[in-house]
């Protein structure tokens, strides 16, 4: 660690980000009512994750419910400041997209990632109503929990960026941002601000949200095992290995498995048609040559040629974008 610190080119922003990461991870530093629950990959069956199984990451308390008729405002560098009532919003043309959301701090093999069908209004349409000034470059998304996140206007205006009120066809659950949240597909969950109350358009990136470095914006190519998981005991001579892979705005091109310490790789079969934003499930039939201990590794490659790295870049001091290979150790036991 000391070695890494010496190597790193330090800045206040880096330091703040490291602290932010630690605060998010360390329970003692979390808000009293923070909540984290992971998606259990061993329960992956359908491409879409049901609402109760969808991961939750919340650093503070869920904001108190808004009044009977919640409102949502657009302000800042706009010609028309607007306030919408919830009832007005849901009457606007709706769009549904399937999108995998991953927490930026999800470790390799971690379950802070899930996929849902999101229904809402295109942010682009709301912004058009407000008529952004020509100076406007960024959009600040304000959550009811005081969390604020800045994204470029270009991404906010993408036709797939939504202000969402339905999750898998049901009213957005409280833990997922009821009544309204942003879904910025293909970008880490940190940008999909929950309990969305206000959109503020700005000329500058006030929050300096790492947009230039791209570390916590677009999701990396990544894959995970659903079965077997670390520590599993397998008794058969063959085993169907399963999992999921995702590539943010890009398409998963292939998924590869290794059972020999990453010396050789076998290609898995993709069970879903690759689409932007959404994970694909994959499967590989493992014919086990001999009983004993095995280390399995998985990696994915996307349509841009991005491939998961074997290890985490040791120069990265934050906890974001961990997309190195997932490895699991299993024991194969053949009764005599």
């Amino acid at each position: 660690m000391r070695h890494q610190l010496e190597k790193a080119s330090f800045s206040r922003r880096h330091f703040a980000r490291i602290l932010g990461g630690l605060a998010a991870l360390h329970p003692a530093l979390q808000g009293a009512q923070g909540e984290t629950s992971s998606f259990d990959f061993s329960l992956l069956a359908d491409r879409i994750t049901s609402n109760p199984m969808f991961f939750i990451r919340r650093h503070g308390a869920t904001p108190a419910e808004t009044p009977e008729s919640p409102t949502f405002s657009i302000e800042g560098e706009v010609s028309r400041k607007l306030t919408f009532r919830y009832e007005e919003l849901v009457r606007l043309p709706r769009k549904t997209i399937a999108a995998t959301i991953e927490c930026a701090e999800n470790p390799a093999g971690g379950g802070l990632v899930s996929t849902a069908e999101w229904t809402g209004i295109r942010l682009q349409e709301l912004l058009e109503h407000a008529q952004p000034l020509s100076s406007c470059r960024f959009v600040r998304l304000h959550g009811g929990d005081s969390y604020v996140r800045t994204i470029p206007l270009a991404k906010a205006s993408h036709p797939d960026s939504l202000a969402v009120y339905l999750m898998n066809g049901d009213e957005l659950p409280s833990a997922h941002g009821h009544p309204l949240r942003a879904v910025i597909p293909g970008w880490y969950g940190t940008d999909s601000v929950k309990w969305l109350r206000k959109i503020e358009l700005t000329a500058k990136d006030i929050d300096q949200a790492n947009l230039l470095e791209g570390e916590t914006t677009a999701m990396q190519i990544k894959s995970a095992f659903a079965r077997p998981l670390d520590g599993a005991v397998i008794f058969g001579h063959g085993f169907v290995v399963r999992g999921a892979a995702w590539a943010g705005e890009d398409l998963v091109e292939r998924v590869e498995l290794s059972v020999d310490g990453t010396h050789t790789w076998q290609q898995a079969r993709l069970l879903d048609r690759p689409e932007p934003y959404t994970w694909v499930r994959w499967q590989w039939d493992w014919q086990i040559p001999v009983s004993g201990l095995y280390e399995l590794a998985v990696r994915a490659v996307d349509s841009r040629g991005r491939i998961q790295p074997p290890e985490r870049d040791p120069n990265r001091l934050d906890s974001y974008g961990q997309n190195n290979y997932q490895k699991v150790r299993v024991t194969v036991v053949w009764p005599k």
């Binding site: 061993s42 069956a45 079965r227 169907v240």
Partner: protein
């Protein structure tokens, strides 16, 4: 388990080693060359038919090959030649244990113990196992009480597992689960221990606890058919079709076309509201010998008002799994409804033993005692019912 013990027993056996060919035979056995070991041991016997060591080795080899007649002949020869030697009785007991001849196994273990078999921990656990399986769970617990509980290793896990099996047979499910949890703490890699815990929770009508255990177990043992089936069953009783689908998928990967897969498919249909398809799958599963399908069919028939059909299926379910509290409750309700109070009492009291915190059981018992004119008992059950229904999730949300 017993095979390992047989091998270890050979190494540990305190038998005289004088003849070189016999030592050679034992060395061949230890190195895994069983065929050569058997040939050499037979040569020894040809020269000396009274060689206890040769009989023991041939008996162990025969046991490993499950050729029980030969195994028993050799172990009996050992006993005939050295009646004071406990080894012959121990091995003979194990040979019977493997053949599920529980009484004979127990009898020989006792004889070995009387001759001071050196590994008292091992033999008492084996004896208790045999006694429990022979229908004497209380005696099994007494046998276990004769030795200090081992603190580590496979024997310790087996000690608690046998204790759990016996508690289960004594209708003490909570103590059974407690004992099995200790077994798992010591040896988490035995799927049968997990199966026992999940099944016991299901029998106690505690589907949420069963599901929690099953989710962990299916991760540890992703290709164990029984674990996946129980996982699906627990998911079903928690009304969660997506979990049943996961179990179904895992089961299909492991053993495509199995009868248990048919049950799980029926469950998915049922949870998705496709009742007729579900019934047809359950009937198919029951034809293929899945005993768990009878309870599911019983519940469906009861819902449809076919009480005769429901009773028939529930009686089948009871025959297959007399430890199921839910089966006992459902059967008790039907019998009580028909006015067969003594038969109903039998089932409802059994249901109470298995599901002591189940509100519905207390409600039915209150009705039963009221019908029998036992007003005070009826009132007591009613009070228990009122307390339990506040906390019993299965009462608030009746299962499908």
């Amino acid at each position: 388990m017993a095979k390992v013990v047989l091998c270890l027993g050979l190494i540990a056996a305190s038998v005289a080693r004088g003849q070189e060919p016999m030592q050679e035979a034992e060395a061949a056995f230890r190195s895994g060359d069983v065929k050569r070991a058997a040939t050499l041991a037979r040569d020894v016997l040809a020269n000396n038919p009274n060689s206890v060591e040769a009989h023991m080795l041939l008996g162990i080899i025969a046991s490993q090959n499950a050729t029980w007649v030969s195994a028993i002949q050799n172990f009996e020869a050992m006993i005939r030649l050295t009646p004071s030697n406990p080894q012959g009785y121990f091995y003979l007991g194990q040979a019977y244990l493997y053949q599920q001849k529980w009484d004979q196994a127990a009898k020989n273990f006792v004889l070995a113990l009387e001759r001071s078999y050196p590994d008292r921990g091992r033999i008492n656990v084996e004896l208790a196992f045999a006694e429990n399986e022979a229908g004497q769970p209380r005696k099994a617990l007494q046998t276990l009480a004769n030795i200090p509980a081992p603190s580590a290793g496979p024997l310790a896990a087996q000690y608690y597992a046998v204790s759990a099996f016996a508690r289960g047979n004594l209708h003490e499910p909570s103590l059974a689960i407690e004992a099995m949890q200790r077994a798992i703490e010591i040896d988490a890699l035995n799927p049968q221990y997990w199966e026992f815990i999940i099944s016991t929770h299901l029998n106690m009508n505690q589907p949420s606890l069963a599901l929690a255990e099953a989710i962990n177990a299916q991760k540890c043992f992703p290709d164990q058919q029984e674990i996946q089936y129980l996982f699906g069953l627990a998911g079903y009783y928690m009304n969660n079709p997506s979990l049943v689908r996961v179990a179904l998928q895992n089961l299909s990967d492991t053993n495509p076309g199995s009868a248990q897969q048919v049950v799980l498919l029926g469950m998915v249909h049922r949870l998705e509201g496709k009742g007729d398809q579900a019934t047809s799958e359950f009937l198919e599963a029951s034809r293929r010998g899945v005993t768990g399908a009878h309870l599911l069919l019983g519940l469906i028939f009861k819902e449809k008002g076919d009480l005769a059909g429901a009773e028939r299926e529930l009686l089948e379910a009871e025959r297959a799994n007399p430890a199921s509290g839910q089966v006992a409750l459902e059967l008790g309700k039907i019998l009580l409804g028909r006015g067969e109070t003594s038969e109903a009492a039998l089932r409802l009291q059994r249901a109470e033993r298995y599901m002591p915190t189940n509100a519905a059981v207390q409600y039915e018992l209150a009705r039963l005692y009221n019908r029998l004119g036992q007003k005070q008992k009826s009132e007591e059950c009613l009070q228990k019912f009122k307390q339990l229904r506040q906390t019993d999730p299965t009462f608030a949300a009746p299962r499908q």
